[in-house]
């Protein structure tokens, strides 16, 4: 049983926070496995976008709102945009 390391007036019950963090960690591990196991590049990019959002929510549960903001903008918007542009470039060459 995890006890509080500090006492603040803004604490949710420890069990609830633990359960939330464990759930999110399991989801993140499953998301990472899914990203690696999908082999088709376009589908993998969409899964990467979902993984980025999951990671962002995990960072929020770890009390880091600015890392959440960074990860959400970068991982869900910019990285898939850049990856899809590269894939379009490669596919166009194939035609």
């Amino acid at each position: 049983m995890n006890t509080l390391a500090v006492h603040t007036p803004y604490t949710v019950p420890v069990g609830m926070m633990d359960a939330l963090q464990v759930t999110l960690l399991v989801l993140v591990a499953a998301g990472a496995t899914a990203v690696v196991l999908i082999r088709a590049p376009v589908r993998q990019v969409l899964m990467l976008s979902t993984y980025g959002v999951l990671l962002a929510v995990l960072f929020l549960a770890f009390q880091a709102p600015d890392v959440t903001l960074s990860e959400m903008t970068v991982g869900a918007v910019l990285l898939p945009a850049v990856l899809l542009l590269t894939l379009a470039k490669v596919r166009k060459k194939e035609q």
Binding site: V6, A32, L37, Q44, L48, S70, V74, T86
Partner: protein
């Protein structure tokens, strides 16, 4: 709960490395590199977490409330943005490789000379 985040970090690292080694498409390999890098963000934030503490922002919370470690958050923050730019650089190399050699399969590219 005390070691579970670190087990997840090691798992993501292993899975990402497996993807890099057994990949047949350069873009797939680059995405697996992104996954490996994301494991370090989880590690950084997991190291600095204090149970029961708030986020280190004191705009609406009185000063000197116990907060989680802000230094690792600063490291992770710049890390996330810089990783995107470096990934774009890797992708431009992949485009260049495709134009030179006509294939995006890393195992075929390894066999080419010059």
């Amino acid at each position: 709960m005390q070691v579970f985040p670190f087990i997840v970090v090691a798992w993501i690292l292993g899975v990402g490395l497996y993807g890099v080694v057994t990949s047949r498409h350069l873009v797939h390999q680059i995405i697996c590199l992104i996954v490996v890098q994301s494991s370090t963000y989880v590690l950084l934030l997991g190291v600095g977490y204090v149970t029961g503490a708030v986020a280190p922002y004191f705009f609406d919370v009185p000063d000197h409330t116990p907060a989680v470690d802000p230094v690792v958050q600063a490291c992770a923050l710049t890390d996330v943005v810089v990783e995107a730019a470096v990934t774009a650089l890797l992708l431009s190399f992949a485009i260049q490789a495709y134009k030179r050699f006509g294939t995006l399969d890393p195992q075929e590219l390894a066999a080419l000379k010059g």
